[in-house]
Amino acid sequence: MRTKTAVPYLFLTPALVLFAIFMAYPIIYSFLLSFQTSEGGEMVFAGIDNYKRLLSDSIFWKALGNTFVILIVQVPIMLLLALVLAAALHSLTRWRGFFRVSFFIPAVTSLVAYSIIFSIMLMSDGIVNQLLETLGIGAVPWLSHPVWAKVALILAMTWRWTGYNMVIYLAAMQNISESLYEAASLDGAGKIRQFFTVTIPQLKPVLLFTAILSTIGTLQLFDEPYTLTKGGPSDATLTIGMYLYQTGFRYFDFGYASTLAYVIVVLIGILSYIQFKVTGDE
């Protein structure tokens, strides 16, 4: 036997080297940058000045508020819709494959491309408003009103991601043992009751997984508001991700942008922890 112990390390080397240079180092470096500020082109240590600046930065609070409104409204609606669709598909005996593919197709489209399509459909004289006018509801200022712009963003994101989550739930439902349903039905539980006493508890880990995934995604939201609403009107759809981009790459304030990045890191940590705690101990 030759020096076998080196083998796994050799297989790992490319990944580790790339990880160290392009992930570990940037993560640490931006943490340090978050305590620095630019003075005459040089980065100097500034203590917690950047973090203090957050407190009095009204645009930051607005961006944080927008991000949370989208998170609190969009994620539950989408996951609930995905669950309902998955249950409907699960009960089908025919056409299941067709529906699964149809609902999944939005999830393979590029974020920029679908944002553009939605932006065009939701413009004041776009097809959606024409439909609403025909129905007698009247046109909606989707992209020019602070509240409706958020609704537009939420609609678009729900369109893009519901099918993705639905397929996850459907796969999990197909893995639930038939005997659990048989036992419940012997106890006299109908279809609806079985859904709540068997399906939902069995799906708990998957529900948690999708909730965390969606939360992480929403906190980093950038492509959609950048393209669909351009953060407007008057910053009504500005997200933390977009504010970070503007701070870092329009105003080149690297220190403060890194502070914003770490706000996202901390929020993801806290919210994931809460979701773990709320859904139980596994």
Binding site: F11, P14, F22, F99, I105, L111, D223, V265
Partner: protein
């Protein structure tokens, strides 16, 4: 029985409405791409595809050089997917089939990094690229996420199932470790490789924020960045934009329809039943 039938009809109505909502935006993109710019807002709406697709593509090419942009996107995606697949498969193999010091620490490090948002790396990465004079280059887009933690995780999960006996038999026959990996391990995980490749491909094809930051001339733009720049102009030619959108989504949808199972398992990281 009767309520059951009503329920079943309702279910199909819900599903068919859902399918319509899912698919209509694509149809609308095709309508836009095949008609003149203003037609997308016509009253009453134009609901049939026109014959302006080629004209719109030609205009699109004049505006942003769509040929070059498509080449950039395809080139970056192909190189990225190939290299990343090699790196991540090797790492996944080490984690799945070897016991070594630091294995669980290193593996948890990769897992934990999945929770860190990409935003936390943007600024140092940008400074690095600037310092190395790599701004506006292909490698600036390709290199940073080659060791994609989720892809490593996927490959590791799928390789756990490979029986140790196969590897032992190979070693007893005197097969070297690299040959063992390429000739015995790789062929036995072909379907997971396909799924992971699709995951990486989709990630890079849709990648927007990072290319937007590091690419700054039209000649280097990828498809999402080019589309976004076109859509940001003060005078937008909607026919052109929708033609570009169709180019960005059409081929992927065709791939998806051909390789549904691999797509779904790649994007979800799970096996899919019928």
């Amino acid at each position: 029985m009767k309520t059951n039938r009503v329920g079943s009809v309702l279910k199909y109505v819900l599903l068919i409405v859902g399918v319509f909502v899912s698919l209509f935006p694509f149809y609308w993109a095709v309508i836009g791409a095949t008609n003149e710019s203003g037609k997308i807002f016509a009253k009453p709406p134009v609901l049939v595809p026109g014959d302006r697709f080629i004209t719109n593509i030609v205009n699109l090419n004049e505006a942003i050089g769509i040929g070059r942009v498509m080449f950039n996107s395809v080139f970056i995606v192909v190189i990225y997917t190939t290299l990343s697949l090699i790196v991540c498969t090797m790492a996944g193999y080490a984690f799945a089939k070897f016991k070594f010091k630091g294995r669980s620490t290193l593996f948890s490090m990769f897992l934990l990094s999945m929770m860190v948002p990409y935003h936390a790396m943007l600024i140092p990465l940008f400074k690095m690229m600037a310092a190395w004079d790599w701004l506006n280059t292909y490698q600036a887009v390709i290199l940073p996420n080659l060791a994609y933690p989720f892809a490593i995780f996927l490959m590791r999960q799928n390789m756990l199932a490979i029986p140790d006996a196969i590897m032992e038999a190979g070693r007893i026959d005197g097969v070297g470790e690299w040959r063992l990996f390429t000739k015995i391990i790789i062929p036995s995980v072909k379907s997971s490789l396909a799924a992971t490749a699709i995951f990486l491909f989709m990630y890079q094809w849709n990648n927007f924020l990072w290319p937007l930051i590091v690419l700054n001339t039209k000649e280097m733009y990828t498809l999402p960045v080019a589309l976004s720049s076109l859509f940001g102009l003060s005078r937008i030619d909607y026919g052109q934009v929708m033609a570009g959108v169709t180019l960005a989504t059409g081929p992927i949808i065709v791939f998806f329809l051909m390789l549904q199972r691999q797509f779904i398992s790649g994007m979800l990281g799970t096996a899919v039943k019928e």
